[in-house]
């Protein structure tokens, strides 16, 4: 049986842990709100971009000389996995579920005899994948000191990926991130960036069906201009979804941590009181039996 002093210390330490998790939960709730707004605000751009590209792509499909971003390199030997995770831990299964999805993907590609390269966006993803696939990780892009992800951050990642693509370093690029559904539900998702996956990009219903457009300059040139932008836009919306998911996951993780700490304090208090009572009883018995012996 632990002594009274030890029990008292434990209660105090659990109580201060609870204070921390409670504070983290509230901070995450506030940040979640902002992250969610940012994710919602970015949707119109991505949707319209996707719609226009889908229409253009349908027009130029099958022609010669279309951008390799649309048609691919004609091979699918080297795969680049862009794994977007958080910079911090303590957010439940958020980072590990993305890493797990990426790991499954890597294993499948390896079985098929493909070459895999990994580009991590976010420190936690690298930490999770380094042990098993350290030699596959090309680089890590950290957004450590950035409070709110801006488009410029995503564009920098996009340019990096495009430069690698132009240098012929990979054939297919897949982006891993967590789609935000609600505070308790975040879905780890893999989406193919290069060559572009039109069914996924379409997103909103295409309402341009009947209308015939004038293009200025011609379709192929507009497409060549838009496709690289689209890569950045896709990365940007993935990063925003990720930010919202991270805060959501952290909020629910910290909520249950706070509740667990509460349960623990109750249990410890019970033991503390019992122990105290037992020691008082013991002292009384000692005094009484001592007096009787006289």
């Amino acid at each position: 049986m632990a002594s009274l002093k030890e029990l008292k210390n434990r209660i105090a330490s659990v109580r201060s842990t609870q204070k921390i998790t409670k504070a983290m939960q509230m901070v995450a709730a506030a940040k979640l709100r902002r992250a969610q707004d940012a994710a919602v605000a970015s949707r119109p751009y991505a949707e319209r971009m996707g719609r226009v590209i889908t229409n253009l792509a349908a027009g130029v499909a099958g022609r010669d000389g279309v951008s390799p971003l649309l048609s691919g390199t004609g091979r699918d030997q080297v795969h680049l996995l862009l794994v977007a995770t958080a910079e911090r831990g303590l957010c439940g299964g958020f980072n590990s579920s993305i890493a797990r999805l990426a790991r499954e993907h890597i294993e499948r590609l390896k079985r098929e005899g493909k070459t895999v390269k990994i580009l991590c966006v976010g420190r936690k993803g690298r930490d999770a994948l380094r042990r098993l696939y350290g030699n596959l990780i090309v680089d890590t892009i950290e957004h450590n000191n950035i409070r709110n992800i801006g488009f410029a951050n995503a564009a920098a990642v996009g340019e990096r990926v495009l430069a690698m693509y132009e240098a012929g370093e990979f054939d297919v690029c897949t982006l891993f991130f967590s789609r935000f559904r609600s505070v308790i539900l975040q879905i780890p998702t893999a989406s193919q960036l290069i060559p572009i996956d039109l069914t996924a990009v379409a997103g909103g219903a295409s309402d341009m069906g009947g209308a015939s457009y004038e293009y200025e300059p011609d379709e192929a040139e507009i497409l060549a201009d838009l496709l690289p932008r689209n890569v950045s836009v896709q990365i940007f919306s993935a990063l925003l979804e990720n930010a919202a998911s991270e805060q959501g996951a952290r909020m629910s993780a910290m909520d249950s941590a706070t509740r667990n700490a509460g349960d623990m304090i109750l249990k410890l208090n019970l033991t503390y009181n019992r122990t105290r009572q037992a020691s008082i009883t013991k002292e009384l018995i000692e005094i009484i039996s001592g007096a009787e012996a006289l």
Binding site: A38, A41, S42, P44, Y45, A46, R48, M49, V52, L56, G150, F151, A154, A155, D207, M208, A211, S212, Y213, E214, Y215, E216, P217, E221, I222, D225, L226, R229, S232, V233, F236
Partner: protein, 131 residues
């Protein structure tokens, strides 16, 4: 004015402007073009320049960089990577930023850093030129 044009300006971060206006002049890659209500469907890329939004008697001028304009029967949508309202720019601040950018280009340590600084500077110069 019977017909009004629905005009939306969208940046990757958010929807910047959504309004009913008379006319919008857009800096297309192959020349500026004005869009009135009922314009034929058109898709055009943009060059860095100024969008003029004409409404009643006021003209709002917005600097945009990178993106494209889409005219549908429903209205005009401009997707721009960067959009700055010219009325909100202060001349002295801009000059200071250009000076800063020039210095960045001058003391860039490596080629990618220099290229990034140069791009920043070009954007600012285009912005200044459009004032």
């Amino acid at each position: 004015m019977a017909d009004r044009l629905t005009f939306e300006l969208v940046s990757p971060e958010r929807l910047l402007l959504s309004a009913q206006v008379d006319m919008v002049v857009v800096p297309g890659t192959e020349g500026e073009f004005g869009v009135l209500a009922g314009h034929a469907p058109l898709v055009s890329t943009l060059r860095p320049g100024v969008i003029s939004v004409h409404d009643e008697k006021t003209i709002q001028r917005i600097f945009v960089r990178g993106g494209f304009a889409e005219v549908t029967p429903a209205g005009l949508t401009v997707l721009a990577e960067e959009a700055i309202d010219l009325a909100s720019i202060d001349q002295a601040g801009l000059e200071a930023r250009i000076k800063n950018a020039e210095e960045d280009v001058a003391d860039a340590a490596s080629e990618p850093v220099r290229a990034a600084a140069q791009a920043q500077l070009d954007g600012l110069r285009a912005l200044q030129g459009s004032l």
